[in-house]
Symmetry: D2
Subunit: 362 residues, 4 copies
């Protein structure tokens, strides 16, 4: 009783720009797309060098390799639904703009752009576009970060007082950009990345502060450092923040904290308790109550039953799953260009405050 | 510069037996196959009911749905490389036997079979077969479990003294099999599962004890219980064990430990230190030394850089990745039918020891 | 306005037998007595060697040093209220008996005696005595162990199913008794200690199982080992247990688990949840519920406010505080000779079961 | 063989000012004195109300109660060695000055004084005095904090980059000072305490930053808040800091972090690794290395063997033990008036920086 091919479940047809073999985040995007089987990655312009771009795509087995993203965007109209952009920050604006204007949905790595001006323009375009522009703020893909947001919105810890976020890495503890480390090269080159740690991981941290509280950051005062000698971008910063409704914020971001691997912590304090989350135990959300009891909620909405740990790739896949929902017309939680713009304003304001040594409004 | 389709990277063509929509483990297998993009799941006989089997395959978008596994095995010869079997235990032996005999590679859920006799026969067949039979003992897919094995083999904790494993769940704390819960139904029906907790999760625990130590279990003395009234299989057991070279073992397995979600712990003690691992922190392996220092090694071989948590699905994908290696002729760490047979002997011996109230040799 | 001496707050006048300088537990008892200032340690026979006994007492500044405990017991009648006995196990029975018969209250280190026969006789005497005999089962002094008992008694986790206790140390991992280590010398000499790990720390573990559940141990089946070559007592054992009302028990005790410092864990499972405690975090009691939430209760009854950690010495002081309450006629939770006898029966039964290779009733 | 009283071991004779029954810290001091049996608390002026002062001393069984500290200081000259001062901050300067001038050693609660001016004067006096003035910065009594200092000084993590300290409590989350809570009353009254959270616990945090790094704080920029309406002192602050040799610092202090009990964390980052300590696990010091390994050192110098937890009272007793050493002419690690002055400068500078909204040098 062999049957003919079943009517294929409808998948999102997607092309990738950037993310050639050897990089880190491109493969994460591809795994995230595959995990829930809702995407067909069919085309790619995976590198800024045409030769390498095509070779990468062929090695990955993509059906339609391109030498440049411009070619891809022109050629694929009507054939694919979405373009995933995972290039260094300096090309985000141009590619995303072209993609949106050509009628593609866009999934875009954070930070949204290299400069604030680019971000303003792109956010404007996105607002007028009928297509989706979604940013991959990874941590919003963790179910317990969403649960944190939801419990706070539900009033579980009462009126908010303070939010404290920190994101510490140690991988840039020495000047590995001078040794040709590929990730370090572009992430410490202001012409490519814009800001350093503030852009790369500070954007995650500040977005988490806004995401879980549901409040905007109104002004900042940063103490910004380039710890490693000769580095051209910031690699360590502490930021004092004022959020809407008088909520006090503090943020620490560092890529020179030797020994830290990828330590993200979020703590929110309200009149009636606190909620805390740590990347080291992503399936747990802790609620601290004034009676001294700590309630630890364990994630129950992962792909395997509660008690089976999930991690980074699954969080990323949750973001892609929500994007698929939105592109297919149903509900999905995405981080849009307005939020991407808010991140860019934050980075800009912190750097300004470092220059002026004053509070800077966003 | 649109190119013609690139020469496709060679993928393993696979069919699945069992694992229809609604189950748990089938989808885990499918995600594990997809994650590293080395498999093409093209055919399936996903249920023991032909109608449902075909509907499930079509819903999943499989190219070639079948009503029965017999049809699939006959029809796909030459078209696929491997059959993944995720049915209840009672049909493992028949399907795996047919698949091996028809020349397919086999990926088979643990425990290997329902009865020890079936296991003996199947292991014999597997030994003579040129095809791979690999069992999905999930926990061997965790990198830090492999690291534990490797450090022990390398002598890091010296001559071994004791191994302690526990696997506690609470989901069968009440008689949910009487309320029609699908997973509970077959996992508490001896005609389908053979043993209860001992087969379902005890097999993981005992295999971990053997896997990380590199030693065999030679005799056991179990205290086996059916805690929930009316249940026909064991749901809680403690086992005293003797491993080769005089290593002392203890094992606790329970599915009625209310409040436990999926708590697996492995501790190995040697003359020079101890190594411990817990499923709650799968990316960490701890080494305890006599000077009171605890060294915590963090996984550095996941799909994302160290500090980005990985979990159950990635562990499962590691198993599939190794299977792909083996099927494609390179090195891979798989759990073979001999190890599957050892598990079946363990289960059998523990149940025997409960009857005889004595130590039973394996 | 200098005042004459205030009417002294009434303190318990106490003498110590054993516990000369250089030992471990004697000084712990003395710190525990001092912490809450309810005891005056005025006399002592601190060693079995008279010369050393007196020298030790003088070094400690005791008012009235004695060469032997017999002298002390005779001389101090009416002058002191209580005798604290911290000698090796073989002299417990004789000293405690003499002390009780002479009308003193007795605080006695566990295990109660060296042999079961001694324990039976002493328990009988204690039952008839009007004086207090209290055993220093340290772990019952931890507030969260008491909270565990209280919550279980209050039905918080419903009808009990299983209790799991483990107590692992590594300090006897090699034959340090042959190198003259003082603690190891008597704790591995059966003429002085009776049993080995079972008596020294197994008694703590089994008592915890009974204490927190409120149930008795009815039968045991032990797998008992002397891991270190030439050692004359047990140093590693696992025990399967049956408690009253069908509660299943398991116990692990080891002093050869290299790398473990003093790892005590207690887990109790009921129909409605689990309560767990670990010595590594003594101020925390965890409640696991079937919905996947873990509630961590933090101690709020230590000497400093919640959030200020307390430890072993404070737990010991809690025991002395309760003893003071009882001696002064108010309520106090003490572990009496009946419980001490139960421990001795446990040790005896486990050793018997090792010989007979069967379950042994207590 | 009853002997006459042994030559008493020489003890420090001490009087206490402040610390009447009902307070918190006075009893902690007394327990700390008793634990190691090196102090005789013989006199006291325990309250600012003479009646209550004498009653408290009598209830505690002190030999020589006084109505006022002035009387005590005059009367006890030659009879006692040391005065422990545990009054609210506003009287620290006067009492400590009088005590030093009268030739007593002084143990003084932190912060040293209420105002910076008082601190300058007292530090000057202490510098010229032959007597000891020691401040009870509790956290310096924890062995693993000392180990942290020692490992940093020994170069284990290389040249320092950053220090991060936080101290969070929640007990002042509502205006309990208006409900008559005694501790809250004086700790939120600027006339008695000077600063609020900054003085009470910020002084601990900033001192820890200096203590473990061995570096001074050179300038600060604080974001200081009174979160609870109507409160007259600060209750939440974040501080950006510059330490000597370019070390970057950040500090968070809060007494309105609902749900936090007493959460102190210290992290120090150097070129070669990081050392971290948390009050929740005071016996552990963690060393993070760039290879991803975390080494957890467990305290081995507590009063009981490694593996037996110690806590707040023992840390406090360590401080008193060091004070006894110093008073008896041997080596001891004490926090002196210069360090106390540094804390006061810190508090002052942070409050100034809040007014000026600029960095303020110390």
């Amino acid at each position: 009783m062999r049957r003919s091919r079943s009517k294929s479940v409808s998948k999102i047809r997607v092309a990738m720009v950037g993310g050639g073999i050897g990089g880190f985040i491109g493969e994460i995007h591809r795994m995230a797309m595959r995990l829930d089987n809702r995407y067909d990655l069919v085309a790619g312009a995976l590198s800024s060098e045409p030769e390498r771009s095509i070779r990468s795509a062929m090695e990955l087995g993509l059906e339609r390799p391109y030498g440049t993203w411009e070619e891809l965007i022109e050629a694929e109209q009507g054939d694919i639904d979405c373009i995933a952009i995972v290039t260094p920050n300096d090309s985000h604006a141009a590619i995303a703009t072209a993609a949106l204007e050509a009628g593609y949905h866009v999934v875009l790595d954070k930070p949204m752009t290299r400069t604030l001006n680019e971000a303003v323009t792109l956010a404007e375009l996105a607002l007028q576009s009928t297509q989706m522009l979604a940013l991959t703020y990874t941590y919003t893909g963790y179910p317990m970060i969403r649960e944190m947001k939801s419990r706070i919105a539900g009033g579980e810890i009462g009126s908010l007082r303070a939010v404290s976020v920190s994101y510490r890495q140690g991988w840039l503890s020495s000047a590995i950009e001078n040794e040709g480390q590929k990730q370090a090269l572009w992430r410490t080159n202001p012409a490519l990345c814009g800001a350093g740690a503030l852009g790369d991981i500070g954007s995650h941290a500040e977005q988490l502060a806004r995401f879980v509280t549901g409040h905007s950051i109104q002004s900042v005062r940063g103490d910004v450092h380039s710890v490693v000698g000769g580095r051209k971008v910031d690699d360590h910063a502490t930021v004092q923040m004022k959020l809407s409704e008088g909520i006090i914020g503090d943020l620490i971001v560092s890529q020179v904290s030797t020994g830290e691997r990828n330590n993200v912590e979020v703590k929110v304090y309200g009149e009636d308790g606190a909620l805390t989350w740590s990347h080291g135990e992503p399936d747990v959300l802790a609620l601290l109550k004034q009676d001294g009891t700590e309630h630890r909620f364990h994630c129950s909405v992962n792909r395997a039953p509660s008690g089976h740990p999930a991690g980074f790739v699954e969080a990323f896949a949750n973001i892609y799953s929500d994007c698929a929902n939105v592109m297919q017309g149903s509900d999905g939680m995405i981080i849009d260009a307005q939020e991407g713009l808010a991140s860019m304003k934050f980075i800009h304001a912190v750097l300004q405050s470092q220059e002026s040594q004053t509070w800077v409004e966003l």
